[in-house]
Point group: C2
Chain length 201, copies 2
């Protein structure tokens, strides 16, 4: 549970100011996710987020410099949550390939089960600008860790890291394709499985 750093630290700080700020931030994030869940990127409108979270529009912008950042931060948490879930019930399979495929499939199912929220995340990822680089990096790092963890216990080798990185990229590109309407969710699963089998001997 020691993965998240910033937000949690603030929560622990007993100062009343910090506490109310953390609470506000949380409310905004929650509202954002809820709205993204039903309607995707376009359904998340800054004015609405502010109104529903009970804060002023300017306050939302004080916490999140842009709509993309807001959506990215909300989804960093989600992906990290996904990582924890996957750890709780470890991937099945005796071979590394099998475990990785299993984990990728589960991740895929988990994401496509909330299509609008995922679409919103992907669109934010796809139109991210350098200011949001750190949030984008956090997401792909999380995904990379999920994959290396599935390979085997202990430190991943150089090669493991390279393979995980490629799989993360295939994962991202597949999602972009899916959100862009190029192909359906079954194609994501197929592509990921094929990539895993080709990369992990």
């Amino acid at each position: 549970m020691g993965m998240v750093t910033d937000s949690e630290d603030v929560t622990e700080n007993g100062s009343a100011l910090a506490r109310s700020q953390a609470a506000r931030r949380r409310r905004v994030l929650d509202v954002t996710l809820a709205m993204a869940d039903r309607g995707g990127f376009d359904a998340v409108q800054m004015r609405d987020v502010a109104a529903e979270a009970g804060v002023a529009l300017g306050t939302v912008y004080r916490y999140f410099e842009s709509k993309e950042r807001l959506l990215l931060e909300a989804n960093v948490e989600q992906v990290e949550l996904l990582g924890e879930r996957l750890l709780e019930r470890p991937p099945e399979g005796t071979e590394a390939v099998e475990r990785v495929v299993d984990v990728l499939n589960r991740a895929c199912r988990w994401l496509t089960r909330r299509p609008d929220a995922t679409a919103a995340m992907v669109r934010a990822l796809g139109s991210a600008r350098p200011t949001e680089a750190d949030a984008v990096a956090r997401i792909s790092t999380s995904m990379g860790q999920i994959i290396t963890a599935a390979m085997h216990a202990g430190e991943p080798t150089e090669r493991d890291l390279a393979v995980a990185r490629i799989l993360t990229q295939v994962w991202l590109a597949s999602l972009v394709g899916w959100v862009g309407g190029v192909d359906g969710p079954e194609v994501i699963a197929r592509d990921l499985e094929r990539a895993a089998r080709l990369l992990i001997a």
Copy 2:
């Protein structure tokens, strides 16, 4: 030169109406590319495109349903052009791996040489919606063909196609990462080379 279907057919049609329409369309596309080249996605403003192309704003929208579509169509041509360039001077190397790496490197250099235009394309790709699915598909298909062509002459096998698809996805995701400021152009080249070497035994 028989790859492009729609637009060229129209050009061949001698009707005066069709000819002036094709000319307008071309002007808009050219202006779009020029603007994207210096300033990226944000520098392409619909009003400016219309003004500089000498047409009304409504006319731009008659030809291209959205800014994303406009940028995508303009870049489909560019990627197809890239494909032709790469065919003119065939990739170097006796092994398939070498040829693919060569082609990927050249494609990468070609794209990062016009950073703003590429950034605009990637951002359009990343925020594409299902309405633009066909344009997105054309771009990744082109890239896929570039890669399979580099592998060997003749029909690509099932496995070739799968590998090419993965490499296309890595290519796309790398570009997204680059545009998003996560990593520099040298990382794209490194990732692509590693992926190619891992996938093509």
